[in-house]
């Protein structure tokens, strides 16, 4: 008994060591993931930002999987993301958007410069809709299935190599 007990501290340390080492090897995930993933979209009812496009409401997300992109014309990574959104649109994905604390003129200019992938743009002047979604920054993109359920959250800008993965997930949600 005593013979075994003297090795217990080493065993305990080995366990902790392995744990910490694995924590160190795996890159730390400092992103704040939404608790909403896996749940239905919260009740949203956003007015249109532009006269040319409808606003965004929860009831719109019926029938086919879609993307809900959280963006701002003042957001630099959103510019980097724009070509990928255009590519997704060309692939037949419907993309709806929430413009965070933005003005129609600025968004109009942003879309003129970077392309317009959006079917709808909801106006979120206070950021309340963003908070309801559990989103912590821009850009962020929510993948929503045909039943209006959030199936995934992409934090940060969508890079070129993320596009196939997103398409695959949307296809799987059909």
């Amino acid at each position: 008994m005593r013979r075994l007990a003297v090795w217990a501290p080493l065993a305990l340390f080995a366990l902790i060591f392995a744990l910490v080492a694995s924590g160190l090897i795996k890159p730390a995930d400092h992103l704040v993931h939404s608790a909403m993933v896996g749940k239905p979209l919260p009740a949203l009812a956003m007015k249109p930002l532009l006269p040319t496009k409808p606003g965004v409401a929860t009831a719109d997300f019926r029938g086919k999987p879609r993307l809900l992109n959280v963006f701002g014309s003042w957001c630099i990574p959103c510019i980097a993301e724009a070509p990928q959104l255009m590519a997704l649109k060309r692939a037949g994905v419907e993309i709806n958007a929430i413009a965070i604390r933005d003005t129609p003129d600025a968004v109009q200019a942003f879309l003129a410069r970077n392309g317009d992938p959006y079917a709808r743009i909801g106006d979120d002047p206070t950021g309340h809709a963003q908070i309801a979604l559990g989103s912590s920054g821009v850009p962020e993109t929510f993948l929503i299935d045909g039943q209006g359920r959030i199936i995934d959250q992409h934090i940060g800008d969508i890079r070129a190599d993320d596009v196939p993965e997103i398409l695959r997930k949307l296809e799987a949600a059909k």
Partner: protein, 640 residues
């Protein structure tokens, strides 16, 4: 040139450390064969030289900061030529590379100290100890050389530096890390002694007596460091709390808990030859906690308000060092401790028994803090992100802590080896009586919740019990270390009283008011007289002028600020705190709403200062015990 000289000193020190390990091997081997006096002499000299070289490297780094040599990367990143001199100096260790150099400097100097002062230990054990100390140093020298070189140049040299985190621009914090490091690394000596004693199969009272002053010294610095750190966080961060259970705070608390347990068990080993294996284990654990603490802070593996130097490469390096040193020591423990004979035995009701209880309770608290600090990592491995906050620690550690207070009251009243329950009860009458009355008074009159009331009662009881060992003694012939114990235990009572009073009676007020309006907090009525801009050395601020008054006192003027630092751009809150005899009035100014109203955060904290006063008393008690012990040893030496 200075940077190159510093790097050279560092490499030379590394060489001497390598030599030290080899000489230690020779001297320890020689000790077994009855030779090797000459080797030991050389070993001592090499250890001293290694310490001097590390000190030189650190001194040269400070010189680079004082001169604001902007061709050195570390100076550029952490200093600025406009900075006040004291913060230029503090900038040398207020960053990752510099603080690691400070760490290894303290480590090497402690080894030099052992070589210089330790005379009574058998040759073999001393040699093995110095070898272990050098072996630890080599790892950290390698870390500096390969992953954190503080002497790297930049080309071209920029015109000026990028400054120092304004939160760190505070005299309290300038000296906080060195103090803590003296404590952390002082425990390395205890660790090396334990490894030396295990290697030479020499675990006994002589080794415990040699180790004790180092443990005491390290513990004093840790106590000061934690107390000062707590007060710093309290007044600088403007959150109004004195302990946050932040991972980095816990990183300093864990070695302190282990060192406190070690301090008591080493006394049992030194005086009664008991608790051999346990003391060796604690010596290993205590320094392991220091290294783990360093790892937690330096690797950025845990998210903390202190997070600086987030770098997985460095984290990996330190983790490897931890694996080698802690794993190695624990393996040695497993292999050798079976051959250590059991020490003297004792009855359950005895001074030893109380000290074992103290050790167990401290270990439980240590375990709770350890689990709470590392659990987020476990959860992360399982794919869950969470953080553990104050409620967990308070619910689990506080009750054990209170039991520990009761044990602290009983321990010194018991005789060594064996005592009787009824004599203990007799001695406990006064403390229990006073504690009970205090509890009843606070509970009945103060309307406090029962936990803080219980803590106040226990504190009162401990205060009485801790001076009892002096009753009916010739005070002039009482050894100094007894006074040390009395003062330290009294300090614990004072500290706990402060914590309990703060938690039971503090009042907080959050208000948004315009100039001319007032709010009340506790017994105070606070009026906002003026809000104005002010400019300092390297910051500008919005300053509020508050007038606080209560019946029977002169009104107080308080000037809380919200500071803005330009280099790098940062906002800090400078709380204004008025210290009264019965508590503190703590005021913070927040944002203005643009329409003339300002956010004010006010606390009235009765007797909160007792927390840090108690901490100071605990450290003072440690100091008295250290001086008393060293004098005694010296006398024993001259008598031989």
């Amino acid at each position: 040139m200075i940077a190159e000289a510093g790097l050279a000193a560092l490499w030379l020190a590394t060489g001497f450390a390598l030599m030290q390990v080899m000489l230690a091997w020779g001297a320890a081997k020689g000790a077994v064969q009855g030779t090797g006096e000459v080797v030991l002499k050389a070993l001592r000299r090499v250890a001293i030289l290694q310490g001097l070289l590390a000190l030189t490297a650190f001194g040269l780094l400070i010189a680079l900061f004082v001169q604001s040599d902007m061709s050195v990367k570390l100076v550029v990143e952490n200093s600025h030529s406009m900075k006040p001199l004291i913060y230029k100096i503090a900038g040398a260790w207020g960053n990752h590379e510099g603080s690691m150099l400070l760490w290894v400097t303290v480590l090497a100097s402690a080894g030099a100290g052992v070589a210089l002062f330790e005379k009574r230990l058998p040759q073999g054990t001393l040699a093995a100890t110095l070898g272990a100390q050098a072996a630890i140093a080599i790892g950290f020298y390698a870390f500096l050389a390969f992953a954190s070189n503080p002497f790297v140049r930049v080309s071209p040299a920029p015109l000026d530096g990028r400054g120092l985190n304004p939160l760190l621009q505070d005299p309290g914090l300038a000296f906080h890390p060195p103090t803590l490091y003296l404590g952390y690394v002082g425990l390395s000596v205890a660790f090396s002694f334990a490894v030396g004693a295990l290697l030479m199969r020499d675990v006994g009272p002589a080794f415990a007596r040699a180790m004790r002053p180092w443990v005491l010294g390290a513990w004093i610095f840790l106590t000061i460091g934690i107390t000062a750190g707590s007060y710093w966080a309290y007044y600088e961060l403007g959150w109004g709390g004195w302990w946050f259970w932040d991972p980095v705070e816990n990183a300093s608390l864990m070695p302190w808990l282990a060192a406190t347990a070690l301090l008591h068990s080493v006394t049992v080993l030194a005086t009664r030859d008991g608790l051999r294996a346990w003391t060796v284990m604690l010596a290993v654990v205590a320094f392991s906690m220091s290294m783990i603490g360093t790892f937690l802070v330096r690797s950025g593996i845990l998210v903390s308000v202190h997070a600086f130097a987030v770098d997985p490469t460095r984290g990996g390096f330190i983790l490897a060092l931890l694996g080698i040193y802690i794993g190695g020591a624990l393996a040695l423990f497993g292999a050798r401790i079976g051959t250590v004979k059991q020490g003297a035995t004792f009855e359950l009701v005895s001074r030893e028994g109380a000290l074992v209880l103290n050790n167990l309770l401290l270990t439980v608290i240590l375990g709770v803090v350890f689990i709470g600090t590392l659990y987020p990592l476990v959860a992360q491995a399982a794919g869950v992100q969470l953080s553990i906050g104050a409620p967990f620690f308070e619910k689990s550690a506080v009750p054990v802590g209170l039991a520990l207070v009761a044990a602290t009251a009983c321990g010194p009243l018991l005789k060594w080896r064996r005592d009787q329950w009824n004599t203990l009860f007799g001695k406990l009458l006064a403390p229990v009586g006073v504690g009970g009355i205090a509890f009843a008074l606070v509970f009945a009159l103060g309307g406090a919740r029962w936990m803080p009331a219980l803590a106040l009662g226990l504190a009162a009881g401990l205060a009485v019990a801790s001076v009892l060992p002096l009753v009916r003694r010739n005070l002039r012939r009482t050894p100094l270390h007894i006074y040390g114990m009395v003062v330290a235990h009294l300090g614990i009572a004072v500290s706990i009283a402060g914590m309990a009073a703060d938690s039971a009676f503090k009042t907080e007020r959050l208000a948004a008011i315009s100039v001319g309006q007032n709010v009340t907090v506790g017994p105070y009525r606070v009026e906002l007289l003026e809000v104005r801009p002010v400019v300092g050395d390297n910051w500008s601020a919005v300053e509020a002028h508050l007038k606080a008054s209560r019946t029977g006192d002169e009104p107080l003027d308080l000037f809380p600020q919200q500071r803005f630092f330009a280099n790098p751009p940062t906002n800090t809150n400078e709380a204004a705190i008025a210290t009264l005899f019965d508590g503190q009035l703590y005021t913070v100014i927040g944002q203005g709403d643009g329409q003339g109203r300002w956010q004010l955060r006010l606390w009235w904290k009765p007797f909160v200062t007792l927390i840090w006063l108690g901490g100071a008393l605990i450290a003072l008690g440690g100091l008295l015990a250290l001086v008393g012990r060293v004098r005694r040893e010296r006398r024993a030496e001259t008598e031989e």
